[in-house]
Symmetry: C2
Subunit: 320 residues, 2 copies
């Protein structure tokens, strides 16, 4: 049931993007800006915004512009991150900077950034509510920059603590889910208490989502996930799984070894499975999602609330 | 007189930046974000915002956060432009990407972008007024991206028309001055008509400022301007001066010749002076500033209005 409900909202968001981010002069800039936005993705964040608004009793269809603003911010961060990581591919298509160059990709991201605020400003609700949502969105963007900065900084560090890692994923991934849920509540006229509870819901489930991503990197084959199994491992990413394994004194040879053989990678994955580090990340993800779901206790029972609870489970149950 | 008045406002803005953009965790990110902001500049845009607010009868001291937001946006665009242009130096200091790398500079710019909206949201005036100003700022940021896109696109073009050039500098430079003046008016409670007139004032004087910049490139020696005389010329920039000279069939050998000798450069400058192309740009700049000043006719006479008129003249009278 939830899949269909999410697809319906994803379609609403995609239709609104077509209207709110038209390809106008100078066309190249808008084509570059739309490239990643149009390549799909599950639109989980804008769907969460719409569901949160419904759960608070708001008219979600009015909030399509706000939902689009969240999706544009998400895509802006991906475009800039891909430049920084020198990533070639995103969602099965060439990264924006691979087609339009670094300058084009910097500008495409910057354009999505400002368009997000423009579009949010068009949401047909009272000015105070829009301003409240804008304040959340701008603070969230600053947090995301801090998270990406930490992520880059960790690459050159010998060791990263579990708390540091959790702070990084909270800022890089959690806060935008938190903003999605709380902006939906704010724009639907929810109280500050409800908005805070929805922020907690989004933030914690978003962190669970990221931890699950780390697990999927090791457990899903390329045919399932579209990504090389153990990609994070050979790139030497200090995920919670690796931090946990380091603490246990496990030495994984394939870690940071970009030319590791499939056998070496499989051996590393087996080690991480056997020492319990993958399970540790799974259990932390489950714990966060459970805590996030409890935060929804402030809301009355409703179909939207039930869908949000389902969505939270989906974020850590998904296999890819 | 005006210089002292501008310095007073510049000092107010610098003090507010210290408060509103503190260097916090992760420190590297905030040091990178502050690097260019702290290297000075004349703070013309935030001063224009404050003067516009005063001219409309507002309490300018309340608007320090809004003035800071304009300065942060300006610096964000410079940081990203310097990456795209691979510029080494800005305001006599190494460009941000030369110290923190491209990733650091992308993130420093992105941080200033979101901080600008955060800080604008703190302006202690009614929510509708803040939202009005935010809508202007986000639209302006989109325009600036379009302007920078056009500027880059022009590099690879054989010919650029005068209208295309004027559109580019309007978006790249004019609109942020327009936003400065109109946001000051909006936040001080000015009518939409007054805000539109102030937008026109800022936009046209900003374009005059840019045209004067093009003139200065050719007429000021390095000891006066701090930049290599004829730098735009040898880089092959298709400024209004060059577009006008092309239309007259003038062939300037040093154009686009990065290794031109000082003699070749001087010869080119002399040609452009003699064929009247430099004067043409000067007269277009004067015309725009005169038109911009006429737009201030909607305002009652005041000290702030007089200062704005003086500032407009300064923008094209300055020798560097």
């Amino acid at each position: 049931m939830m899949e269909r409900e999410l697809e319906r909202r994803a379609a609403l968001v995609s239709g609104a993007i077509e209207q709110l981010l038209p390809i106008v002069h100078p066309r190249g800039l808008y084509e570059a800006s739309r490239h990643l936005v149009d390549s799909g993705g599950k639109r989980l964040r804008p769907s969460m915004l719409l569901l949160a608004a419904e759960a608070v009793g708001g008219e979600a269809t009015l909030l399509a512009p706000a939902a689009v603003s969240i999706e544009l911010i998400h895509n802006f961060t991906l475009i800039h991150d891909d430049i920084m990581d020198n990533a070639d591919v995103r969602r099965g298509r060439p990264a924006v900077h691979k087609i339009w160059g670094e300058s084009g990709a910097i500008l495409a991201g910057d354009t999505l950034y400002s368009k997000a605020f423009q579009v949010l400003g068009m949401t047909p609700v009272q000015p105070e509510l829009i301003l409240g949502a804008m304040n959340v969105l701008s603070r969230t963007c600053t947090d995301i920059c801090e998270g990406q900065w930490l992520d880059i900084e960790f690459e050159s560090r010998e060791r990263v603590s579990e708390n540091e890692y959790m702070e990084m994923i909270e800022k890089k991934t959690g806060v935008l889910y938190g903003a999605s849920a709380s902006m939906g509540a704010i724009l639907a006229g929810g109280s500050p208490q409800v908005a805070a509870a929805l922020d907690e819901f989004g933030r914690l489930t978003g962190m669970g989502f990221q931890l699950q991503d780390d697990v999927i990197d090791l457990t899903a084959s390329v045919t399932v996930s579209g990504k090389r199994q153990g990609g994070d491992l050979v790139e030497g990413k200090k995920t919670l799984i690796m931090i946990n394994a380091f603490a246990k004194g496990i030495n994984v040879e394939a870690f940071g070894k970009r030319d590791a053989t499939p056998e070496e990678i499989q051996k590393g994955i087996l080690q991480l499975e056997e020492c319990g580090s993958i399970d540790y990340a799974r259990s932390r993800a489950e714990e966060m999602v459970a805590k996030g779901k409890r935060a929804l206790g402030v809301l009355p029972d409703s179909k939207a609330r039930a869908l949000m609870l389902e969505m939270a489970d989906y974020m850590i149950r998904r296999g890819h």
